[in-house]
């Protein structure tokens, strides 16, 4: 393949449209290379975010031929078909310009979640004893590169725009890594139920399918958190036990 045609969405909050660019390719080109080439040679004001170009920073999220992808990890030859390759911004967030969206909402939600709250250290030097099998579960969630592709495909956010009531898969993964940290004594169950809206997730696994880090978001993070919420708030036997032996109802 020597060249390819790209249709790149250009515009801002007021609106925009696709513009067509022909790009000469080099072997191994990823979509981000093509965008950079357009930037350098045809449209120096074409806006896109990127940093590492190696799938580690999660900056260059976009929709390529309608699929949510990291542009730096998407080989052109893998997405080239008969027609042009379309590149457009994530649709779950407001557009700022071209391929750049306003993702600041994600930062606000994260700041509202209780961070890891450690118990007293086990040793005098301030450290803890933790076994590898204890850290492996939360380590999966800590692989998250905050590309927000999971947020972008979650229908609660994308279609229903429930950003005010629902934190989205990224933040359930974040809550899960804190909840499952072996030294954490925090408690996020009431917050997950009342403020982060975990109940709205109906486990369609769209988030898991798009995660470039391969995090099993639904099965390993969201479902266990849902179980904690159910155990605490909706288990009738536990409710009776609490009324007999004491303990807060958490309501």
């Amino acid at each position: 393949m020597k060249s390819a045609t790209f249709k790149v969405w250009r515009g801002d909050q007021e609106g925009g449209d696709f513009e067509t660019y022909d790009v000469d390719l080099e072997p191994g080109y990823v979509v981000l290379d093509a965008i950079h080439k357009i930037q350098a040679e045809q449209a120096t004001d074409l806006a896109c975010r990127w940093n590492c170009k190696a799938g580690k920073c999660g900056s260059c999220s976009a929709e390529v031929n309608g699929s949510p992808r990291l542009m730096c990890m998407t080989r052109v030859e893998d997405v080239a078909g008969d027609g042009p390759i379309t590149v457009e911004p994530m649709r779950a967030f407001p557009v700022l310009k071209d391929l750049v969206t306003d993702v600041s909402w994600n930062y606000e939600v994260k700041a509202s979640i209780q961070p890891v709250t450690p118990r007293e250290p086990d040793f005098e030097d301030g450290s803890w004893e933790m076994q590898q099998y204890d850290v492996e579960r939360p380590q999966e969630f800590r692989k998250c590169i905050e590309c927000f592709l999971c947020q972008n495909v979650c229908h609660v956010l994308r279609d229903h725009q429930m950003h005010a009531e629902f934190a989205g898969p990224r933040h359930f993964v974040f809550a899960a890594q804190a909840e499952m940290n072996p030294i954490d004594v925090g408690d996020r169950v009431a917050q997950l139920r009342d403020d982060l809206g975990i109940g709205y997730c109906n486990i369609t696994k769209c988030c898991t399918n798009v995660c470039p880090e391969g995090i099993t978001i639904t099965d390993n993070a969201i479902i266990p958190l849902k179980e904690r919420v159910v155990d605490r708030s909706y288990d009738p036997i536990a409710k009776i036990a609490r009324s007999v032996f004491g303990g807060a109802d958490d309501d």
Binding site: E26, V30, D45, N51, A54, K97, P115, G126, R142
Partner: protein, 605 residues
């Protein structure tokens, strides 16, 4: 007259990678008002790319390790041009800085007895690097980010600083713009910490992101600070080289730490030849001993693949020059061979090096559990940086201006050991934050000059006001990078360096004509035009210092002066801005080392 958004902070931290975040956290803990400026979104800085680990002599895997050995290893790696005081502080304080990350939520890999696991790395005598697979930098930046957002720090995301503001000699703030709308921002501050990272974008083949344009080096220089050791640029021996689109992307040294070996096109394991004298006693005699070392045999010595980065990079270049390179001009790095020793080698490699597996599979179509990788040197790290006081990290000539992390100079001397960067970030980030807060408390009164702000605004708007011209900012950047790659790269000589300085002057001349189309909203052409000034400044400092050092030492290799020369071991090069705006280079004698530390160097061999 432009409109500005004004912000006032006691301490302004510029840069939000590991060092900037750690400085901001420390300053906030001291009870002052802190602003943190990120060039990108929070959590995306280049620290995220660090893979192998963080050096800290906790002795969890080998109890013989301690700060003295770490200190001696760092000095040897730096060919004794390091600031010995920084190397001492770094070795002493990194264990505590590592442990405190766990308090804030980090989860390092564990030893069988539940402590932080440590791995082998080039130039470190014992297994020393705390790590999480091969994504340690992500773990560190995310931990600092997630802790930092609860410390009352004001975060300014996607804001680029173009100039520091002065009150007499003192630094009292910064001028910049936000990427989103191109609005100007003025930050007034009692103290300013630079934590802007590196300058790899001065070269064509680099592991650095678009951000690494030497902003902090250049901002400090133009504000009157000195840069030291600028000739020492680390070319990491193992970057990806094929396909062209991935050229320069880092392949972690952890591959070699886990047993990966280098071969040439003839299948020879060439690293066993030419072991440097400083390391002969520490290096394995044969492959069998090398394998025992990487699998934890305490009596074995390290395989030659784990020699320092400068040496490994030069060896790869030599193989290529002598016609034994890989098809695309590098060497073969093979981890799949460990199947000779390990039963489930495929599972083991995926577990220990998950992102390397992923990176080669996705971008090069190579399965590293089954076949070798093609690798070659990539511009990775600036050992040189802004000259600072070792204890406080305040610049030597500009009161109120501090520097930490890669932008700061001194710790690494002529060559940095892998793993010493992540520890550098938190050790000296913490110190810079502490002393910047103290300086802010002790020096509350200052004035910001309106004229200086006007001048900064005019300068920043110029490329945009010129609109599209015959000088495209991306093309000019490409021209500079190509020239630096060819003439100031891994092998240098007098003539090429002089030509480079000439070219830098010519490109600087075109800066007045560089233009960018479009408007102020999120305009990469405009932003690239503004970064060019920084790139030119650091390029000149590198070329000038490299021409001046007429010997080969550490990362600096001269084809016309192949040997290390003792006469060049007693001073550092320092560059500063002269009265007429010209760059001046000077020799600065290394202060005599404390006897106690000299004794350690002798004991540790």
């Amino acid at each position: 007259m432009s409109a500005y958004q004004e912000f006032e902070h006691d301490v302004l931290v510029i840069g939000a990678g590991g060092a900037g975040l750690r400085a901001a956290i420390e300053a906030a803990a001291a009870g002052v008002n802190v602003g943190l400026v990120c060039k990108s979104l929070l959590g995306k800085a280049h620290t995220v790319m660090a893979e192998g680990g963080m050096a800290a002599s906790m002795g969890n895997v080998d109890e013989r390790d301690g700060w003295k050995t770490h200190f001696a290893d760092t000095m040897r790696g730096g060919q004794y041009l390091n600031s010995w005081r920084m190397a001492e502080l770094h070795a002493k304080e990194s264990p505590e800085r590592a442990r405190e990350l766990e308090k804030w939520g980090a989860l390092f890999d564990r030893t069988p007895d539940g402590k932080i696991l440590q791995r082998n790395f080039g130039g470190h005598k014992y297994p020393r690097l705390a790590h999480v697979g091969d994504r340690t930098g992500l773990e560190m930046i995310r931990t600092l980010q997630d802790h930092g957002i609860h410390q009352g720090i004001d975060v300014h995301m996607e804001v680029t600083v173009t100039r520091l503001l002065k009150d007499g000699e003192r630094c009292v703030g910064a001028f910049g713009y936000d990427r989103e709308q191109g609005r100007f921002r003025i930050f007034k501050a009692k103290a300013v910490v630079l934590a802007t990272g590196g300058l790899g974008r001065a070269y064509l083949v680099t592991s650095n992101s678009w951000e690494g344009t030497g902003d902090g080096h250049s901002l400090a220089y133009h504000a009157g600070a000195e840069m030291r050791d600028m000739e020492f640029i680390q070319f990491h021996p193992t970057g990806m080289i094929w396909p062209p689109s991935v050229r320069g992307i880092l392949v972690t040294e952890g591959v070699r730490g886990e047993g990966g070996i280098l071969r040439n096109s003839k299948g020879e394991r060439f690293m066993f030849e030419d072991i440097p004298p400083l390391y002969i006693d520490q290096t394995a005699d044969n492959p069998e001993e090398g394998w025992r070392y990487v699998t934890g045999d305490r009596d074995a010595r390290r395989p030659p693949e784990l020699l320092t980065r400068d040496h490994v990079a030069r060896k790869i270049v030599k193989e290529v020059q002598e016609g034994r390179g890989s098809p695309h001009g590098g060497a073969f790095l093979d981890i799949s061979w460990i199947k000779e020793h390990i039963k489930d080698s495929e599972g083991h490699i995926k577990k220990k090096l998950p992102s390397m597996y992923h990176q080669f599979k996705e971008l090069a179509g190579i399965d590293i559990t089954k076949e070798p990788m093609e690798v070659g040197p990539t511009t990775h790290y600036a050992m040189g940086g802004v000259a600072v006081d070792a204890d406080t990290q305040m610049t030597t000539t500009v009161p109120g201006l501090f520097a930490a992390g890669e932008v700061g100079g001194g710790l690494h001397g002529a060559n940095r050991l892998g793993g010493n960067s992540l520890s550098d970030l938190v050790v000296f980030g913490q110190r810079a934050g502490e002393y910047a807060a103290k300086f802010a408390k002790d020096n509350p009164n200052y004035t910001v000059s309106e004229a200086e702000i006007e001048e900064a605004a005019t300068e920043a708007l110029a490329p945009l006001e010129r609109g599209v011209t015959s000088v495209n900012p991306f093309q000019l950047q490409f021209e500079l990078q190509t020239m630096m790659q060819n003439k100031v790269g891994i092998a240098r000589e007098e003539e090429g360096l002089s030509e480079a300085l000439g070219s830098i002057g010519e490109i600087a001349g075109q800066l007045a004509d560089v233009g960018a189309g479009g408007n102020r909203w999120y305009n990469p052409g405009w932003h690239t035009a503004l970064d060019l000034k920084h790139l030119l400044t650091v390029s000149e400092a590198i070329a000038l210092s490299a021409r001046e050092r007429k010997e080969s030492r550490g990362a600096h290799s001269r084809l016309d002066h192949l040997d290390k020369d003792k006469a060049w071991s007693t001073f550092n090069h320092v560059v500063r801005k002269g009265p007429d705006g010209e760059m001046i280079i000077e020799r600065r004698d290394i202060p005599p080392i404390r006897q106690e530390l000299q004794d350690i160097l002798e004991e540790e061999g």
